[in-house]
Symmetry: C2
Subunit: 250 residues, 2 copies
């Protein structure tokens, strides 16, 4: 059953869908009929299951049939911040990070980034990634569309206020660092986590030191070298397992 | 530093590299010089750091400089079995599953698989995937090249002898199943795990029941719907975290 984000508050058990693009997609392209049911997430992040009860020329009327639906968001807010890379990779990271529950996806330029965005194209590129995030969020039945953004300078990550500030550093893995991530994930009272991932060529010593000086913990993600687009997915999977699966088991 | 798998046993602190393709790549393409160091994994899975000491017309002589190098293989053997899908997806799965440590990667045909391979092309397709696994294994500094294979029938997975037999079932996630994976990963004496992942359309009831009847545990991978190519990466990341990072922390 498809899911759509609607820019309104669903109240009174009814939804009037008059967004041109969504109406076109649901009624004209997919040809839904009276009686069909779809999921909608409103602008308060609530998820509803609703039945199509009337089709008019420019709007479709839905009746809510179920409003107590299970939570699909991670219990902690996770930001994934990655160095700019080729289009394929960052689109893939955006899509997969959305499937795996990130609420913010940041791309930044660092010294050894293999790509660079000129100022005049940033908005267009971020828009495209934002669209990818939206589609992935709908497919994954998320309640939130992750916010995609771009930072021209890694320094802008220094003073973020996340409870856990983690930087995945290849050198840590090489040195056999295995315990910091697990320790950090056992902390009490964690509401938000940021994970920062460097480019294929790694961070410069200065960049890494600056992150550490601003409270980032350097973590190893196992002994194998993970590609730039795989490492964020490892962290998100582990965060999901830690907060959604493991804690239920204990 | 690049890594190469050599089809010989490295002994006596010396390696004579006479494989035509590897010689060509190392000496002619990459133009390594005497004094350069590379990693080699021999056919006993041992990793060596070796220095190029002599270049002859058809062979290159290396001297081992370091042979006690850290373990990059998971402490449990993991098989990832996925339903056949489009070329892009299965190539991604092969590459990423290799980065994340799988030792066997199996593609199978199930009722709702969106792709099907005719008998006469299976070998060629598996060969190509095997090559992808080999390259990814070298890049990730693995000691083992995962074995890629194809099964024409899901039933062939029924009687595998892995210690943990897991099937990721979307319905389980929907029903809010959260604890079986964590419980399974706490078992003592686990040396091998198989994770089976269905197609985009899911398993048929009969297929799922058959797996369960043959000892497979149905696991949820969190409340978000994961795409067919993401779910195996979630499981591999969690397995790495459980056996390589978390157990060290306790």
């Amino acid at each position: 059953m498809e899911q759509y984000f609607v820019d309104q508050r669903i109240e009174n058990s009814q939804l009037i869908l008059d967004d041109k693009e969504q109406y076109r997609h649901i009624i004209t392209v997919l040809r839904h009929k009276v009686g069909d049911e779809l999921y909608f997430v409103d602008n308060t992040r609530k998820l509803f299951q609703a039945k199509l009860v009337d089709i008019q020329p420019e709007k479709a009327i839905f009746e809510v049939v179920e409003s107590k639906l299970s939570m699909t968001e991670l219990p902690v807010d996770v930001t994934i911040a990655c160095s700019l890379s080729k289009k394929d990779k960052i689109e893939w990271i955006t899509q997969k990070a959305t499937e795996l529950g990130a609420v913010k996806i940041v791309f930044f330029r660092s010294r050894y980034s293999i790509m660079n965005w000129k100022n005049n194209v940033v908005d267009k590129k971020v828009s495209r990634l934002q669209e990818i995030a939206k589609n992935a969020a709908q497919q994954s039945k998320r309640r939130v569309i992750p916010e995609v953004s771009y930072l021209s300078d890694l320094d802008q990550l220094n003073n973020v206020s996340n409870d856990l500030k983690l930087v995945a550093y290849e050198e840590s893995a090489k040195e056999g660092e295995t315990s910091i991530l697990a320790q950090q994930l056992q902390k009490v009272g964690v509401n938000s986590i940021i994970g920062v991932f460097g480019p294929e060529g790694g961070f410069s010593n200065e960049e890494f030191q600056s992150l550490v000086d601003h409270g980032y913990q350097s973590i190893g993600l196992g002994p194998r070298i993970l590609r730039a687009e795989t490492a964020p997915l490892y962290l998100l999977s582990v965060i999901s397992y830690n907060y959604e699966l493991r804690m239920n088991e204990e």
